[in-house]
């Protein structure tokens, strides 16, 4: 039998006016805080949309062209590397857009081969306002506390740095999840805070479950009214 396909799953589609709106919104967020002339521009866009209730969730892939930049303290990429491949998730609720996720990394092979460069995440909360001056220090302090609490050891200084950058991105992501939760849950540092989403899925979750219930079982008899 063919694999079960969820009714809201869609193939990636080339850009349409509907996809362009959330893509432009994502780019605006990406560019927030930059002066004219230093802003990145949108290249190719493709995407898909899932709808439920009054909202739509757009998953987008886009190339983003960075303007030439010569200041190494400011540039996202070295001078010769201008194109980024980004994935965005934009939620549209009643016409109001929110950027839930944004990950950008170099697009060309030469850059991808360079192991010193990694895809980096950015999130709306990081871009919404200028970061507080002590943001990094607070994060470092939180990360140190995390290492002590969960007894973490890393093989090298490089790995520790890499894990800290994941931790920082995860903290911002936890804030986003917190902001969108309609219950009373609190999200924040957990023992999984130094894992990428991909690592977390691979090590702790169960991809087979979405294939369906598996073996057919008989339906349980309902409980009678006492």
């Amino acid at each position: 039998a063919p694999p079960r396909r969820s009714p809201d799953a869609q193939a990636w589609e080339p850009v349409t006016p509907e996809l362009l709106r959330p893509a432009r919104f994502a780019l605006e967020t990406y560019n927030r805080g930059r002066v004219a002339g230093a802003r990145a521009v949108l290249g190719a866009v493709s995407g898909r949309v899932r709808r439920a209730g009054g909202g739509s969730l757009y998953s987008l892939k886009a190339t983003v062209e960075e303007p030439p930049c010569s200041d190494p303290m400011v540039c996202r990429l070295p001078v010769s590397k201008k194109t980024l491949l980004c994935t965005f998730e934009v939620l549209d609720e009643l016409g109001k857009h929110r950027l839930l996720r944004g990950d950008c990394g170099p697009v060309d092979a030469k850059i991808t081969d360079d192991k010193n460069e990694i895809s980096s995440s950015f999130f709306p909360l990081l871009n919404k306002d200028p970061l507080p001056q002590n943001f990094s220090m607070e994060m470092v302090s939180l990360f140190k506390h995390f290492i002590t609490t969960y007894n973490r050891t890393y093989d090298s200084e490089e790995e520790a740095q890499w894990r800290m950058s994941i931790f920082m991105n995860n903290m911002v992501r936890a804030q986003e999840i917190q902001a969108l939760d309609r219950g009373t849950a609190q999200y924040g540092v957990t023992k999984f805070s130094d894992l990428t989403e991909e690592e977390f899925r691979t090590f702790y979750l169960n991809p087979l479950l979405k294939e369906g219930p598996g073996k057919t079982m008989r339906l349980a008899k309902p409980i009678d009214d006492p």
């Binding site: 209730g53 939760d181 849950a185 999200y187 979750l205 479950l209 598996g214 339906l219 409980i223």
Partner: protein
């Protein structure tokens, strides 16, 4: 259904376990259910072996994932479950070392439960903890409280984690399911996850099942 219920207070739930870096949640969900069913039928709470399922359930894929429905079938084919003490958990696939002589618990059948949360609550209160599967959105960073992600972000079509419903109730008028997870007691509320009840949050209602012990 009664307004609230908690099998933890009634001795039907073993301590929170830890699956480690292994996608064996399906095994923990099913053994948790069988532990509860055995307790309710035989009056004896035994901690049962997940490693037996990881190693010997050839219908599933050990640390790469599995389905509760397959696990029930495997338990019946094998002849039952050994205890945690006799076949302890290592968190990776090993050669199957199941021995029928050590079986302490058997099951006779397995059933699929209603997708109606009210009926699930009624079933739980009368029959015991329920094996379920959910979309784990946000659980990487969950600390406490009742989780209620937007349906759009926590779609019932992307189920990726099996757990155990052990109770339900209300906290300050917010209805919840009490869910036993298998990520150790240093995650969530002493290893438990609380999810909004009545809104089909994260697909909590889509894959409910139970073993049957006669």
């Amino acid at each position: 259904a009664p307004p609230e219920w908690d099998w933890r207070n009634k001795g039907a739930v073993t301590k929170v376990k830890n699956q480690g870096m292994c996608g064996s949640c399906w095994a923990f969900s099913v053994t948790g259910n069988v532990e509860g069913q055995w307790f309710l039928k035989q009056g004896d709470l035994l901690s049962l072996s997940e490693q037996e399922l990881v190693d010997c359930d050839t219908l599933d894929k050990a640390c790469m994932g599995g389905l509760p429905s397959n696990a029930y079938a495997a338990i019946r084919t094998l002849g039952g479950l050994e205890t945690e003490d006799d076949y302890s958990y290592h968190g990776h696939l090993q050669t199957c070392s199941f021995t029928a002589e050590k079986v302490k618990v058997y099951i006779n059948d397995s059933v699929e439960l209603s997708k109606d949360e009210q009926k699930l609550a009624a079933w739980l209160a009368k029959k015991g903890p329920i094996s379920i599967a959910i979309n784990a959105f946000g659980m990487q960073f969950y600390r406490r409280g009742i989780s209620r992600p937007l349906r759009l972000l926590c779609s019932p079509w992307f189920i990726d984690h099996a757990v155990l419903l052990v109770g339900y109730g209300n906290r300050s008028d917010v209805p919840f399911w009490a869910i036993k997870n298998s990520w150790g007691t240093d995650w969530g509320e002493e290893g438990y996850y609380y999810l909004h009840r009545g809104s089909r949050a994260c697909g909590v209602n889509v894959m409910a099942s139970s073993a049957v012990v006669d």
